[in-house]
């Protein structure tokens, strides 16, 4: 059964507030039992890179925030395979405990299953 809302995260962390604020929106919806599905695509896949030491630039670690997703009831995320390949990022570097990473080839087909898409 498809969900109502898909959140598409396609901005890199730190360089743009949208990455963090998008995640906050996902967490807030999940905390209200309206958990959206989440797709990381484009530069958004950089949010998933391990070993982020955001303290070096006086920011909070977006990757640590992402690790909280299972606590909010998000146990699966979609990741665009083509975006990973374009950026030479191997999917097996991106493991997050408690989250099932689903690689997507047909993002258009995925998007079409939802009533609403929020872009971040």
């Amino acid at each position: 059964m498809s969900q109502i809302t898909l959140a598409i995260c396609r901005h890199a962390p730190y360089g743009n507030a949208l990455a963090r604020e998008g995640l906050e929106a996902v967490l807030a919806a999940a905390a209200m039992d309206q958990t959206p599905d989440v797709l990381f695509t484009g530069d958004g896949i950089f949010q998933l890179l391990p070993d982020q030491a955001a303290g070096e630039i006086d920011q909070k670690s977006l990757h640590r925030n992402l690790q909280a997703l299972p606590m909010f009831g998000v146990e699966q995320i979609y990741v665009c395979q083509r975006s990973l390949e374009e950026r030479a990022v191997s999917s097996n570097r991106l493991a997050i405990a408690g989250i099932n990473l689903v690689l997507v080839q047909d993002t258009g087909g995925l998007i079409s299953r939802y009533q609403h898409v929020l872009s971040f």
Partner: protein
Amino acid sequence: MTLHIVNQSPYRTSALRDCLDAMADGDALLLIEDGVYAAGAPTGIAPIPAGTYCLQADAVARGITPAKSITLIDDERWIALCVEHTPIVSWF
């Protein structure tokens, strides 16, 4: 069917390319704001599918003449496209 909206110049960000990669058969594409720079002469960056829509006011404002295969629309028609499609995805 999805309505995709792109508001970025194809020369500045990957919004248009990412959008084209995510289009399914039957989806519609609307170019607005700086997105209309993709509606003029073929860019070599990404071929625009036939049947693409372009917000006329945004093209006229910028002195861009869209290719013949592109349908120019006003705000009313934009809203009609939103009614006809779901979901609506913005690429920026």
